[in-house]
């Protein structure tokens, strides 16, 4: 008797609350269902819905962009929905696969590496913005290439994945070295310097996740190479740049100058706890480095070492980065004009978001602003961001390919085996086979 009464006492209010909530939300759902077609999220004609992640970074940038655009369009409003990238990808796939395009936002942020894959599989998700009046030549070709498919532009580049080599000057000094010793060098020299530092300080030069191919992929792109040819076929075997990259990587691990750790958190820990003398990654790693406040003034950045004996090798590369896409359910005119006036046209915007969030622009005109020339105290007074924009223009373009993730993971698996002593040619052949399997 008692429990059933009690259960009822709990159940009733909850059900009432749910009922109220259900109708309220259902109403919202209906609006977006019927009001769709023109406007993502079913809002008013002066409002845009945006899916993006990271409050400290791209959400913040969007909020500032809203303010910039509001100066000329006082009624304009942004509705930002915080969605981590993995979940955003899952949502996009679910919407596309169930053909519920009405639920799409107007604008979404997408990882550069995922662009080719998503456009190839779900062209219905995107609006072609080639004719939007956005001047894509204001972005480095290597960056617009991510979001360009068959000559059509599907994205406005946001943050740069331009790679930097960041090093602890205090540790370099202990080994009698300076940042200039790491500038414009090749990996043979780099390994030599790394050994020197290891001898003197006992610390490895770099660290990275075991079983991650980030480092290899950066090496590849620095020579304009990739895992796929222009026709999109995997070229994991008979790929000189790849073989050289893997060989270089193995040399560094074997020499103890590249510390392999288990996970991303461990990688971050090696940096902020001062267990390594440097790191090579996309410029966005600067944000993580700067969380180690006790290391302020002890860091410098420079370009990357280049692969030796590989055609078209350079000292520049990229890792990560993301671009804004306009969905097929968008208020296209407004979305395009908004992006054109902000991320592809406002120095003011980039000048605001850089110091506050460290979001380095891909938009080349932004690099000439005074804000980018400011010396950065944390990085020993270097004008870090001006340098990075300059690096960005020199990054060779490469072909990510729609099967980028398949290729990357297959190569990761191969690297794991090679580091454990397997024959590189055999392991890569296996990787090639797995990618080909995924593609058919």
């Amino acid at each position: 008797m008692k429990p059933s009464k009690k259960a009822l006492a709990i159940a009733l209010p909850v059900l009432l609350a749910l009922g109220a909530c259900g109708t309220g939300d259902g109403g919202g759902g209906e609006t977006s269902g019927t009001g769709g077609g023109g406007t993502g999220g079913g809002e008013a004609s002066n409002e845009l819905t945006v899916w993006t992640w990271d409050p400290a970074f791209n959400i913040y940038a969007m909020q500032e962009a809203e303010k910039v655009y509001q100066k000329d369009h006082p009624d304009f409003k942004l509705n930002i929905v915080e969605t981590p990238w993995d979940d955003l990808q899952t949502k996009l796939t679910t919407l596309a696969q169930s053909q519920s395009y009405d639920e799409l936002p107007d604008i979404f942020l997408m990882q550069n590496n995922a662009y080719q894959k998503n456009v190839a599989n779900y062209p219905e998700l995107f609006t072609d913005i080639t004719g939007s009046g956005i001047n894509f030549a204001d972005f480095p070709e290597s960056v617009t290439a991510y979001s360009t498919v068959d000559g059509k532009n599907y994205g406005v580049p946001f943050d740069a994945g331009t790679a930097i080599g960041a090093y602890r000057t205090d540790l370099l000094e202990e080994a009698g070295l300076k940042i200039d010793d790491f500038t414009d060098i090749d990996y043979a020299k780099f390994i030599e310097l790394g050994k020197q530092i290891k001898d003197k300080t006992g610390k490895p030069l770099l660290s990275g996740q075991a079983g991650s191919s980030d480092t290899i992929m950066m090496m590849l792109q620095s020579a304009g190479a990739s895992l796929f040819d222009d026709a999109g076929k995997p070229t994991i075997t008979n790929n000189d740049a790849l073989l050289k990259s893997i060989d270089t990587y193995k040399q560094m691990v074997d020499a103890g100058i590249f510390l392999e750790v288990n996970s991303w958190d461990e990688y971050v820990a090696t940096i902020v706890n001062g267990d390594v003398a440097g790191t090579i990654n996309g410029v966005w790693i600067a944000g993580t480095i700067q969380t180690a406040k006790d290391q302020s003034g002890k860091w410098n950045i420079t370009n990357l070492p280049k692969l030796d004996g590989v055609a078209n090798a350079t000292n520049y590369s990229a890792n990560g980065g993301s671009s804004w896409g306009v969905s097929s359910n968008a208020n296209v005119e407004l979305a395009q004009d908004f992006l054109k006036s902000t991320f592809a046209g406002s120095k003011e915007l980039y000048d605001t978001i850089l110091p506050a969030s460290g979001a380095v622009a891909n938009w080349i005109p932004a690099g000439s602003s005074d804000v980018y020339k400011q010396p950065q105290e944390f990085f020993g007074g270097q004008p870090v961001f001006e340098k990075v924009v300059e690096f960005g223009t020199k990054v060779p373009k490469n072909n990510t390919g729609a099967y980028y993730y398949e290729g990357r993971d297959a190569v990761s698996a191969a690297i794991t085996q090679i580091i454990q002593g397997a024959d590189p040619a055999g392991a890569l052949e296996e990787a090639q086979k797995n990618v080909e399997f995924a593609m058919n």
Binding site: V14, G22, E30, D87, G287
Partner: protein, 269 residues
């Protein structure tokens, strides 16, 4: 004296297992009071950063709203699931027949398929009825689970038929027998089922993430996921969020555990 010595191995075993269970929790709680850097350095003593972490957390995320929606969904699911599944479990066992056995084994199939595989048709269904973004879309798929039905069915095996017969003789209706006799007697099972269902519902992530498109309806697991999405993760704040996200399930357990584990008092008196 000899008795307590005889029980010594039991105590040792329990101690080892309790340490094994609690150590990671201790680490989580301690980390919530430390800076990101200390967390990454595996600092095992409490620090003074709890308030800063809390400020950073509430500045970045709407904690109150996430807790409210998580609670709403979890309580809604638990209450409805307990009512619907216990009635079904009771029906299967007490009114046992071959046809019902067959139905049970068919129903069991429903839990054997990975959720990721049915997610898209399910989404399509809710989209068709304009129920995306609604609380019911979160709750409905989680109410009726073969697992809960089976839990109640298996527990009913030890439920004495004589009591039901006696009640029938007294002229009680079938539904009254269920609510007045079965429900109070099976308190332990209800408590266990409530704990488990609440916990699963509270931690449910994939489906709410997909079906709830607006920010306002965000739940705790989504909030935690947001915190580790950026280029820079503050591990102290993350651990605090995770600690807060874990507390309600623990509280529900503490509140209900008396019912199912106060030793052998004899469930059926």
């Amino acid at each position: 004296m000899t008795k307590s010595i005889a029980r010594l191995p039991g105590y040792i075993f329990l101690t080892i297992f309790a340490i094994f269970s609690l150590f990671p929790l201790y680490f989580m709680a301690v980390s919530a009071t430390n800076t990101s850097k200390d967390v990454l350095a595996s600092r095992l003593i409490p620090g003074g950063n709890l308030i800063n972490n809390f400020k950073a957390l509430t500045a970045a995320q709407d904690l109150g709203s996430a807790l409210w929606y998580s609670a709403l969904y979890a309580v809604g699911i638990t209450v409805l699931a307990l009512i619907i599944c216990s009635i079904a479990g009771y029906g299967f066992e007490i009114f046992h027949s071959k046809g019902k056995d067959f139905l049970m084994s068919i129903l069991l199939l429903a839990m054997m398929i990975p959720f990721a595989a049915i997610m898209i048709p399910l989404f399509q269904m809710f989209a068709k009825f304009s129920m995306v973004n609604s609380a019911w879309a979160v709750i409905l798929p989680a109410i009726s689970t073969p697992f809960l039905i089976m839990l109640f069915r298996q527990s009913s095996r030890n439920f004495p038929h004589e009591i039901i017969e006696a009640a029938r003789i007294d002229g009680l209706g079938e539904l009254s027998i269920f609510t007045r006799i079965y429900m109070p007697t099976m308190k332990a099972t209800y408590a266990a089922a409530a704990v488990i269902t609440f916990m699963t519902a509270w931690n449910n992530f994939l489906w709410p993430k997909v079906i709830l498109i607006k920010n306002e309806y965000q739940t705790m697991p989504m909030l935690v996921s947001n915190l580790s999405a950026g280029y820079v993760t503050d591990f102290g704040v993350l651990m605090l969020a995770v600690l807060i996200a874990s507390l309600p399930a623990m509280i529900v357990f503490l509140a209900l555990q008396r019912s199912f584990a106060e030793g052998m008092t004899g469930a059926i008196k």
